[in-house]
Symmetry: C2
Subunit: 121 residues, 2 copies
């Protein structure tokens, strides 16, 4: 078996669409996904799971009902399960998400901004 | 509740010992740990779980019985459960580990290099 490092930079080079997380690796029942985001997302929560955001490049704001967290490169935040949040970024931000397999990007909110699942890059 | 980003750089500034992973965040039953490593570790495996390595700074080699993977900054690799591996780094490497709560650094090998669990930084 050939073993190969997964380069975030290489993977980001393979797509340009925003708000559409792509899977780059799997660990047990969890997935590592990367996404490009810019502008505002929608309010939503994940009732069944925590969700981790790690910023790779740029800046991300995670609005929550009781405050917001600002993330720059090399900073992470775990949104607790059931906590409503709305990500936004003034300029394009590259981030990594870590969450259980099958976690939809819009959580319990659904709607038109729900991205396709199971898309690898 | 105050929400605060977790800065990898800040967290690495709080310790200097090597081969002793420190927890920086928890997501469901998983932990994010950071470690400084240099030199060779021991052969071991984790029979119950995959284990993710993400290099933050420096270079890491993960030796496996059938090959090795070289990781630089921004590169990750998921060691499959039950796969024997031996991390090594020529110069100090800063890395992040993602794995289930209670996963010992020496896996099934045990011994003198087993680090204390549940140490947060």
């Amino acid at each position: 078996m050939e073993h190969k490092a997964i380069s975030l930079e290489d993977k980001f080079g393979k797509f340009s669409d925003q708000w559409s997380p792509k899977i780059i690796a799997r660990m047990n029942d969890y997935e590592f996904k990367i996404a490009r985001v810019e502008g505002e997302f929608i309010w939503h929560s994940h009732p069944e799971t925590d969700e981790t955001f790690l910023v790779i490049e740029g800046n991300l704001i995670l609005e929550m009902r009781d405050g917001e967290v600002h993330l720059g490169p090399g900073e992470l935040f775990v949104v607790p399960r059931g906590t409503e949040h709305k990500p936004r970024a003034v300029r394009e931000c590259k981030l990594m998400l870590i969450e259980p397999v099958g976690t939809p990007n819009t959580g319990d909110a659904g709607g038109s901004r729900t991205a396709m699942q199971d898309v690898w890059v």
